[in-house]
Each structure stands twice: as C-alpha cells, then as structure tokens.
C-alpha cells in the first residue's frame, strides 16, 4: 500500500437487512474512499444508513437478521465482500476495528477489562501471559486510564461511562488497526466527557497514522475531527465535501437543514 494511497475504497455498496418478516434496503449504493491516515466523517440522521454502512464494511449483521450486500469494498487489495468468513475474522479487530456507541453495554460485565483486552491480543498477536499483561497496561495508559496497573483487574462496572469508552478504544487500537470505525462514539456520554474522548481519538489517530471513519448525527462532533464529511440521507451519500467547505457553503439542502439543527451561540435572530 502506498503511503498516501486509499486504504478503503467502497464502490456502490448496497445493504438490505433481511429479517423474517421484511426486507429493508438500508444502504442504496454508496461510493466513497478513505485515504491512509485520513479522517472521514459520516453524518446523517438516525436510520440514514450510516451505521449499516460501517457494519457492512466489517460484514457484521444485526442479530437475528441477514444482511444482503452488493457492490465492492476494496481493502488491503481485496474485496471484503467476497473473502471467507475466516479471513474476515482475521481482519476484524486487527486491520479494521470498531468503537461502539454504548460503552455501558459493549463490555462483558463478568470479565475484567484487562482480560477482555488480553483476549484480543491473544487472538491476533499471539501475545500471552506476562507480555500480554504488560501490553494491556500500556494500552490502558495510552487511552488515559489513571493507575492502569491497578485498574487492569477491575470489572467494567467499576468504571465510569467515559472510562469504559476509553477501554473500548484501547480494545480497538490494541492490534494497531489501519482503519478505526467509530460509530457514534460519544453519543452515550455527557458533553465534557465527549470532548475528552474526541481529543483522545484525534491524538491516537495522529500518533498511529491510522484512518478514522467517524459516524455521528452531530455536526458539532465532526468539526475539528475530520478532513472530509459524507452527508448521508435515506441510504445514500447526498453530499461529500471538505470540512471547511461544508460549514461555509453546504451544497445540499439536507446538509443545510442538518447544520441548522446544531444549536449555536450568537446565532442571528435568537436572543440569548
């Protein structure tokens, strides 16, 4: 892979969620790419297909459903939609990792956080025993958990929401992925913690040169985080633009409507 090449090229990706009773065409053909080290935001309202797009790249289906995929997802010289499930498992967590929306439920409540991170290290890097433990503590330190050597044996319920999200991020970056997909990583957190988590993601991305796919419904989150934004609506990308451009001159009327939905201080016509 070239240093400035595209790490992910998605062409005409379609995803239909098939459940027992109905089929929903959630993603109706999206095309985009992400360069090595680049941050790209995906913004849209609930149900616009942004999370399904992310899961389609990792070939994850919501439980109890099947997702029919179409198009191509080129990653590391291969089309992820055609590789075997076993190869896909090797890619998940090691080459592409994901941070989920709800840190309160995304960790196994009966296993210590250290053991949960160790699981992934053992799975993908073969690290185990003392070396794995050292690495876990190092990772916890990197995501800003205070006293990592002491916290490593704590259970998830002993951590606050923000700290749990840091643990999830530690899990995601544990195997040095090329691409980190963050699906509404701050939605479940309160505002001050949101800012800390976003700064952490930004710092980790810069330190490791990984690409970031940031999914959110909140323009306030992508501002200052990403270079480019894809605005999604109804299963399609309706606008793609640089971050400055989109705030200055949104082209699509849906983008304008979304931007207007962000509360701002000193907006004309709104008295404080």
């Amino acid at each position: 892979m070239k240093a400035d090449g595209q790490i992910l090229r998605v062409h005409d990706l379609k995803a239909s969620i098939v459940s027992r009773s109905q089929t929903v065409e959630a993603v109706k053909g999206v095309t985009f790419d992400i360069k090595r080290g680049e941050s790209v935001g995906f913004v849209g309202e609930s149900g616009c297909g942004k999370s399904v797009t992310a899961r389609a790249i990792m070939r994850l289906a919501p439980e109890g459903t099947r997702v029919d995929l179409g198009g191509t997802v080129q990653f590391g010289g291969r089309n992820l939609l055609t590789v075997s499930e076993a190869e896909m498992r090797d890619i998940r967590g090691r080459r592409i990792a994901m941070v989920f929306q709800d840190p309160l439920t995304s960790l196994n409540p009966v296993i210590t956080v250290g053991a949960q991170i160790e699981d992934i290290l053992r799975r993908h890097t073969g690290l185990s025993g003392h070396a794995a433990r050292e690495r876990v503590i190092e990772l916890l330190a990197q995501v800003g958990i205070p006293f990592p050597a002491r916290r490593v044996d704590d259970y998830p319920h002993q951590f606050s929401g923000g700290m749990r999200q840091r643990v999830l991020i530690a899990i995601a970056i544990s195997c040095d992925p090329d691409l980190l997909i963050a699906d509404e990583p701050t939605t479940a957190l309160d505002v001050t913690v949101q800012a800390q988590i976003l700064r952490l993601l930004l710092r980790l991305r810069e330190e490791r040169g990984m690409s970031l796919m940031l999914i959110t419904h909140d323009f306030g989150v992508v501002a200052g985080m990403v270079e480019r934004v894809n605005v999604m609506y109804g299963g399609r990308i309706v606008e793609t633009a640089g971050i400055d451009e989109i705030f200055r001159a949104p082209a699509h009327e849906y983008t304008r409507a979304l931007l207007d939905a962000v509360p701002r201080l000193h907006r004309d016509g709104v008295s404080p």
Binding site: R89, G93, A172
Partner: protein, 293 residues
C-alpha cells in the same frame, strides 16, 4: 454501636421498599445456607453410609417386621433386614441415579440449548421440534416405555431420566441465550474477530449460568421423585440391592404391621427432595433469577 444505629436509622425509615430490598438478600442467604447444610448432610451420610450403617443391608434375620428397638432403630422389614441400614445404603443408589441422570441432562441441555438459541433459524427449529416431541410425552409414560424396552438396570434408568429431563433443561438454557446473543458486548466481541464458538463460551454462557443453576437444583428435586417412583413401580435397580422406591414398594403390603418400614424411606425421600427445593429457592433469591436486574 450507638453511632452505627443512628446512621442506619434514616435508611430504614426511608421507605418500605428500601427495607424490603435490604431484607430480601439476607432471607435468601438464610435459605441458601439451610439448603447447603441439608445438602451437606445428604452427601455426607450417603458417602459414609457403608461406615455408619449398623448392619449389612442385605443380611436377613428371623426377626421380621419388628418395631423400633435399640438393636434396630427403625425396625426390620419382611425378611428381617435392618431398615435403617437399607435406607442409608439405598440412598446411594437413588442419589447416584439422580445426580448422574441430571448431569447428563444438564450437559445435553447446555449443548442443545446453546446451539439452538445462539444459531437460531432452521437449526433452532429442528432441535426444538424434536425436543417438543419428547416433551409432549408424560414423564412417567416415556420413562416406563424406555425402561420397559431396554430393561430395568441402573444405566438404563439413568439414560431414561436423562432423556426425560433434557427438553426442559434445553429450554431453560435456550431462553436467556436468545436475549443475551443480542447484547452489545457479543457484537463487540464479533467485531474484534472472535470465533463464534469462543463468543458462545466466553460471552454468552457466563450470562446464562444463574437460571441454569436454579433449574438444575429444581430438576434434582423432581428427579429424586421420578427415580423413586420408577423404582416403586418395579422399573428401578433390581433386588436385593436396596433403593428408596423399591423399599416403599416392598413395605407397602405390611404397612399396618410395621409402619416404620414405610415411614423410614418416605422421610428420606422427602428430606432429599426438600433439600433441593430449599437450595433452588435460596439460589434463586441470591442469584436474583427472574427479576429485572
């Protein structure tokens, strides 16, 4: 002490439900403790039976159908065997059959329930429909049919009872798996490349342990009853080795002459059954099975 009392006061006066919540776990612990104590007695007596039994359980004597005496605390049966010794030794057979068959049913139920609940779709349908067929038979009818076909030996009895209780165990396992598999941490585990087998073992199974533990204890209570009932009907282990159900059957015709020959094994059966019911209720309270938390 007085300090502690005053700091406790607001919490107690706070609300009725707060008091109830504080009181409940300790009641559950008490029940669990009682259950464990009863289980300890049951297990110890059973294991040490050959040492503490005063007579050879199969040794006959001319003194048949005697009442309680210093030599025979619970009297003797129709052919002069010591009832107490037979209860102690007979418990070994009855409890061995009970524990082993429930263990088999538990293992089968775990495998079938986990596969059925986790994999879902047609696999779930296929497994559950087959189990439904087994489930549809009345327990005793099925047990009698299998034992009658295969012969009344201890291994056959164990196999039969394991088959009879497998559907119920599978359902107890399957139900919570259906919801746990949708939890976020399962998807999170999948998103880092964990294999489905490992997800089931590490991220699904630990979440469903509590209801399974409670159900196992209740099944043990039911199984003791089933084992003794089958033995009573003559489908248990063959004589002369004693077992509780068989003893009841033998003593039935002499119960007016020697009530102790019936009361003895009956009390043993009730005690063993009660042990597992008390244990199950204690476990249910302490593990908080069946509430929202």
């Amino acid at each position: 002490m007085s300090e502690a009392a005053t700091t406790n006061e607001p919490a107690i006066a706070g609300s009725r439900s707060a008091v109830a919540r504080r009181a409940r776990p300790s009641a559950g612990r008490l029940l669990l403790g009682l259950g464990l104590a009863m289980l300890a007695i049951l297990v110890l007596v059973t294991l040490l039976a050959p040492l503490i039994a005063p007579y050879d359980p199969s040794a006959t004597s001319p003194n048949s159908l005697e009442g309680s005496s210093p030599q025979h605390w619970l009297g003797t049966d129709a052919i002069g065997r010591d009832v107490l010794s037979r209860i102690l030794i007979g418990g070994r057979t009855t409890l061995f059959v009970t524990f082993t068959s429930v263990a088999f049913a538990l293992v089968a139920g775990l495998v079938l329930g986990l596969v059925s609940g986790y994999v879902g779709s047609w696999v779930d349908e296929a497994i559950m429909r087959v189990l439904d067929v087994v489930f549809a038979f009345p327990v005793f009818l099925l047990a009698i049919a299998v034992v009658a076909a295969l012969g009344p030996t201890v291994p056959n009895l164990i196999l039969t009872i394991a088959i009879v209780y497998t559907p119920a165990m599978s359902r107890v396992v399957r139900a919570p798996v259906l919801s746990v598999k949708k939890w976020d941490h399962v998807e999170a585990a999948r998103s880092v490349g964990m294999s489905e087998f490992r997800i089931v073992i590490r991220h699904v199974l630990p979440m469903v342990v509590s209801p399974i533990v409670v159900a196992t204890s209740l099944t043990l209570a039911q199984t003791i009853f089933t084992v003794t009932a089958l033995s009573f009907l003559g489908l248990g282990p063959p004589p002369p080795d004693p077992n509780w159900g068989g003893m009841l059957a033998d003593a039935r015709q002499f119960m007016e002459l020697a009530p102790l020959t019936v009361v003895g094994p009956a009390v043993a059966i009730v005690f063993a059954t009660l042990t597992f019911i008390v244990l199950a209720n204690g476990l249910r309270e302490v593990l908080d099975v069946g509430s929202d938390r």
